[in-house]
């Protein structure tokens, strides 16, 4: 069986994105400019990472004036915190297949 990679893991697999995310966890809401100063990469690159993090529902942006303030979404890491639930889903799927097999074995 192929597990679908969780978007949370996928987006945090990149060390630069992890660093940005960790910074938002630690420091709270930040603008792209502030994040760029600490990230050591260009602002467009930071924006791109923030887009990936946003798509994974890890962070959200709040426009204010000309700035966008980014912060960690409430419950962002639920897929990690409640990871036993995910493992349960994996086993449920396996046992679904077991049940299909048992039905086939009847014939």
């Amino acid at each position: 069986m192929k597990q679908t990679p969780n978007p949370v893991f996928r987006s945090l697999a990149d060390p630069t994105r992890r660093a940005i995310f960790e910074r938002l966890c630690r420091e709270g809401e930040q603008t792209v400019g502030t994040l760029t100063r600490h990230a050591g990469i260009s602002q467009p690159a930071v924006s791109k990472h923030l887009r990936v993090l946003t798509e994974a529902d890890l962070v959200s942006g709040r426009p204010q004036g000309r700035e966008v303030y980014y912060s960690v979404r409430q419950g962002a890491l639920d897929p990690l915190v409640h990871w036993t639930e995910q493992m349960k889903t994996v086993w449920e799927a396996r046992i679904d297949r077991l049940e299909e097999l048992l039905n086939r074995m009847d014939q």
């Binding site: 966890c25 097999l101 074995m105």
Partner: protein, 137 residues
């Protein structure tokens, strides 16, 4: 010091199957059947037998802990430093079998093994989880 029990977690899945325990037992212990619903394996139902479940993303190292056909089966389920035990219990019930799967021994920091997390996944998730536990409550 051993870790307190609350530091490990279990996953339990239970299912009523409209099939007799002997048949479910076969699906749990015969390798070509295991390959159809779980993974390719060189399993042998003998305590102490070491075997693997193999998938395209890697393999799981196992060792049979106990077998009691057709009632219970347990094997270790290890990958990297993930050390768990998978236990199957088959209880005959009217019209079939009550199947229970319990995987025990997960520690909190092992979340990185989910979602197809790859070997070499950095250790940062441990720290991150602690951080989030701290901030989200």
């Amino acid at each position: 010091m051993t870790q307190p029990a609350t530091d490990t977690r279990s996953v339990i899945v239970e299912r009523h199957l409209p099939h007799p325990p002997e048949k479910v037992w076969r699906a749990l212990t015969v390798n070509h059947l295991l390959a159809e619903w779980l993974m390719e394996t060189d399993f042998v139902p003998e305590p102490g037998h070491r075997f693997r479940f193999v998938q395209d993303w890697g393999s799981i190292d196992c060792e049979v802990v106990s077998t009691e056909p057709p009632r219970s089966l347990a094997y270790s389920w290890n990958s990297q430093d993930l050390e768990t035990v998978v236990s199957w219990t088959l209880t005959p019930v009217p019209g079939g079998t009550h199947l229970r799967m319990e995987q025990t021994g997960f520690r909190k920091g092992q979340a990185r093994y989910f979602g197809g997390a790859q070997a070499g996944w950095p250790r940062f998730l441990d720290a991150l989880e602690q951080l989030l536990d701290h901030t989200q409550q």
